[in-house]
């Protein structure tokens, strides 16, 4: 078996909260707490959960934009912390990102060619002719007309702008792309174009994706594996199809039951969770989900459940012990 592209082990990220008298520390937010996952070559890991669950922090850790407080990330078998400067540069080139809003992520004063070439220009010393060739190649790869290189971002629609952002992410031939809500800012009729493009690029280039989205059907559609997070903890991780068909953790169940139906006749068991996600500053004791959990037991409020293997996936819930 090949080495996974990314292997996160017991990853955590704590943010100290300043506040109170004279800026004394008022506590810590455990944004990501003891999270482990792997992303295999050519595969997609979908990350789901509600606001404040730590999805974005996890993606920042993977992108190397934040240093983990605990645990480790291995990239192609190499621990990131042990990398030297050259290794670090190589890592940064191999991991790229596409963000939600292509109106915010493209510089309006740069021509599209320059936007796409920027990672090449800053990271590699290539002659101009090679850069131009690569731009043309990337435009073709992402389905944009060749003359796009001379235009400005405002001359493009949302879907085309997202293609430009994808072309830029591909410029350095990365191994992994973090896709943070890549289609939620786009018109409904455009989303399928971009999702299909991402799938085609994955097949063609052997890319791995970390796919973050609110739309569970889109995540199930794109992912090989799905990881579900709640308040900084991983609660369930498993093969995408099985997990979305038969979720085990009560939170995953409630989350997938809250997903909107694709047909008016589609009636699934509706689990309406009481209350809202608690503040990550003061997470509940024991299992963090227990105050909203329809199946909570006495034990859940005192003892934090650990991730355990269960029928080919891992689940952190006392119900399955």
């Amino acid at each position: 078996m090949t080495t996974p592209v990314v292997e996160a082990r017991r990853l955590s990220k704590l943010f100290p909260v300043k506040g109170g008298f004279l800026g004394r520390s008022a506590g810590v937010v455990r944004a990501v707490d003891d999270v482990s996952f792997t992303i295999e070559q050519g595969q997609t890991l979908g990350l789901v959960g509600e606001s404040g669950c730590g999805k974005t922090t996890t993606s920042k850790l993977v992108l190397g934009l934040e240093e983990p407080t605990g645990g480790s990330i291995r990239f192609e078998g190499q621990d990131l912390q042990e990398l030297d400067a050259a290794g670090r540069r190589h890592y940064r080139k191999s991991v790229q990102a596409v963000f939600q809003d292509p109106f915010a992520s493209l510089n309006p004063r740069m021509r599209v060619g320059a936007i796409i070439a920027e990672p090449l220009v800053t990271n590699e010393s290539l002659p101009d002719s090679d850069v131009r060739k690569r731009i043309a190649q990337l435009l073709e790869l992402t389905g944009l007309p060749e003359r796009s290189a001379d235009l400005f971002p405002h001359e493009f629609s949302g879907g085309q702008r997202q293609r430009i952002a994808i072309a830029r992410a591909l410029a350095l031939s990365p191994r992994l792309i973090v896709l943070d809500e890549p289609v939620s800012a786009l018109d409904v009729s455009i989303r399928a174009q971009i999702l299909n493009l991402l799938r085609d690029l994955q097949a063609q280039l052997g890319l791995s994706y970390l796919f973050i989205a609110h739309d569970l059907a889109a995540v199930a559609h794109m992912s090989h594996t799905i990881a579900v997070m709640y308040l900084g903890r991983l609660v369930e991780l498993g093969e995408a199809g099985e997990l979305s068909r038969a979720p085990k953790h009560p939170y995953t169940k409630a989350l997938f039951s809250a997903a909107l139906p694709s047909h008016p006749d589609e009636r699934r068991e509706e689990i309406i969770l009481p209350g809202e996600v608690p503040s990550p500053l003061r997470p509940p004791s024991g299992c963090r989900f227990h105050p909203r959990c329809p199946e909570a037991m006495a034990r859940c409020s005192t003892e934090e459940p650990q991730l355990r293997p269960l029928e080919g996936r891992v689940v952190a819930c006392h119900l399955f012990n």
């Binding site: 629609s157 409904v188 399928a192 989350l255 694709s262």
Partner: protein
């Protein structure tokens, strides 16, 4: 019985300052809504769905003009009412919930104040009476500890709670029609489920008619009785939800339904719709969808299709439906 709301051939245009450019944001739109019924209006950005919603309340921006049509509500044409009469409809007979609750709540007033405001304005309630009623309304939208919450400000609440406050303001004067414009887009999934259930409960309890403005067909599938699909300012298809999901008459509706990923058949290749929504200022000739339509024929390039009945209560605006129907017009 006549319907609660009936819109006939409504046209709303945006006109530039010099009157040189006209955007037909809403064009020849007709539909009706009965008391207690839920209608979904689906469309992409720029399809005219929000303009349509705002025109029901006559809250259009200054550049907009009512070009044609009638809006009959409870037996009166809203377009003929004076501003004063219209103020008595707005918030009292027709209420609206907008997408971003933080933008629709005033950060400088307490929540209680804002829930009580329409009661004071429309029903002449006393300060005390309105305040007590505000507490009740907060309870009815399932806000815990309403007596304490009424004294708080919007920033002290979560997004889901703010949106429930907006809902409480909406139903405060017991309107007959509630228009919800993308009410759950800013909410998390489990909070969205809570909110949609709440709206459904309120609808049942008060016999409200609901209009859901959304781009999300999932909300339509879950919540609505009937749906109208808008494209480039026109309703291209309208009918009972189930029928439209099972047998869409318009290629745009069909393509939209096929382009959406489904939980059940993951990793199937999605059927993408080519191209992008048109610019309203430069609409293509004929049917506005023809440049993106996989089954367009010559006629679609030249002539805009009429409304045709494809089944009882189910209309489509497409030449293919006309031909399939032997040319019978609605």
């Amino acid at each position: 019985m006549s319907p609660l709301l009936e819109i006939r051939k409504l046209g709303v245009h945006y006109v530039t300052a010099r009157g040189t450019r006209v955007n037909r944001a809403v064009d020849e739109v007709s539909f009706s809504l009965d008391a207690g019924e839920t209608l979904g209006i689906v469309g992409e950005s720029g399809s005219g769905k929000t303009t349509l919603a705002l025109s029901l309340l006559r809250l259009l921006p200054t550049a907009a003009r009512f070009a044609s049509g009638e809006i009959h509500f409870e037996g009166r044409d809203l377009l003929t009412l004076s501003d004063k009469e219209m103020r008595k409809v707005r918030g009292k007979r027709i209420a609206m919930i907008l997408q971003d609750p933080m933008a629709s709540l005033n950060p400088l007033f307490t929540v209680g104040n804002q829930v009580a405001e329409p009661l004071r304005a429309h029903e002449g309630a006393t300060r005390k009476g309105a305040w007590a009623r505000a507490c009740e309304l907060l309870r009815s939208v399932k806000i815990p500890a309403p007596e304490a919450r009424v004294k708080e400000y919007p920033h002290q609440m979560s997004g889901g709670m703010r949106q429930r406050i907006v809902g409480a303001i909406g139903i405060s004067c017991e309107p007959r029609l509630l228009i919800a414009d993308e009410p759950t887009t800013s909410l998390d999934l489990t909070i969205q489920a809570q909110y949609l259930n709440l709206l459904r409960d309120l609808q049942k309890a008060h016999g409200l008619a609901l209009i859901f403005i959304t781009h999300n067909l999932g909300i339509v599938a879950k919540m609505c009785d009937r749906v109208a699909v808008m494209y480039a300012g026109r309703i291209v298809e309208a009918g009972p939800v189930k029928q439209i999901f099972d047998a869409p008459a318009h290629p745009y509706t069909r393509a939209l339904l096929e382009s959406i990923p489904r939980m059940s058949d993951s990793r199937r290749r999605l059927t993408a719709i080519d191209g992008q929504p048109p610019d309203l200022a430069a609409l293509p000739a004929g049917c506005a969808f023809h440049p993106r339509c996989p089954v367009a024929v010559d006629r679609c390039h030249e002539e805009a299709p009429p409304d045709v009945t494809v089944a009882p209560g189910h209309f489509g605006r497409c030449w293919l439906a006309v031909h399939a129907n032997g040319g019978g017009r609605a």
